[in-house]
């Protein structure tokens, strides 16, 4: 069974540009989560989808970040326009059900904004 996959693995962009990150969860997992680790800081929750609906987006830092999950399968996270402080590793995770279920993580996308 394939795990959570993320694309791209690395992205280097200039300040002001747009970047879109993609996450493909484990097949059959309705719950999809985005997290971010900024350099030297803890991994922080960004948001949670249940199927195509945003269940919790309390961790989204500002309105430059837009997450979508059309059709309830893969998800995209767009940063527009990117700022220097957006640099970090963006992780995606999925779980079969909600609650205290184990979340399975992807390898992350390393974003560097210059």
């Amino acid at each position: 069974e394939a795990g959570v996959t993320q694309f791209p693995s690395h992205s280097v962009i200039e300040k002001g540009q747009t970047v879109t990150l993609r996450c493909d969860p484990i097949s059959g997992h309705d719950n999809l989560y985005w997290y971010r680790r900024v350099m030297g800081k803890e991994i922080k929750f960004l948001l949670h989808f249940v199927k195509e609906s945003k269940q919790d987006e309390s961790g989204m830092p500002n309105n430059r970040f837009l997450a979508e999950r059309t059709g309830g399968t893969y998800s995209t996270l767009k940063v527009q326009p990117a700022e220097l402080e957006d640099s970090g590793v963006y992780f995606c995770a999925s779980s079969q059900s909600w609650g205290l279920e184990t979340q399975y993580f992807g390898p992350g996308t390393r974003l560097l904004v210059l």
């Binding site: 997290y35 800081k41 803890e42 991994i43 922080k44 929750f45 184990t102 992807g106 992350g108």
Partner: protein
Amino acid sequence: AQSVTQLDSHVSVSEGTPVLLRCNYSSSYSPSLFWYVQHPNKGLQLLLKYTSAATLVKGINGFEAEFKKSETSFHLTKPSAHMSDAAEYFCVVRTDTGGFKTIFGAGTRLFVKA
């Protein structure tokens, strides 16, 4: 409020000696506790989890952790370190606070010397 404290940012051990990575948590509710490992340029891999069953939890690769409610601790141990254990380890708390929240510790980087 929920929080997770990993007491050591770095731990260095010699190959073949025991490993102890310390984690303390704060939670007003019965939490689920997890340990994840991240090898360089890899995703987060689940080592083990505690969900209110046995307090001693066995995980993969010879790791185990003991949930001690009185001490609010969930330390990760391994009897004998291997070179391949060198990685970053994250203690994670997931609780239902009227909405499920996932809190990561800051991470402990384990170095294994030959």
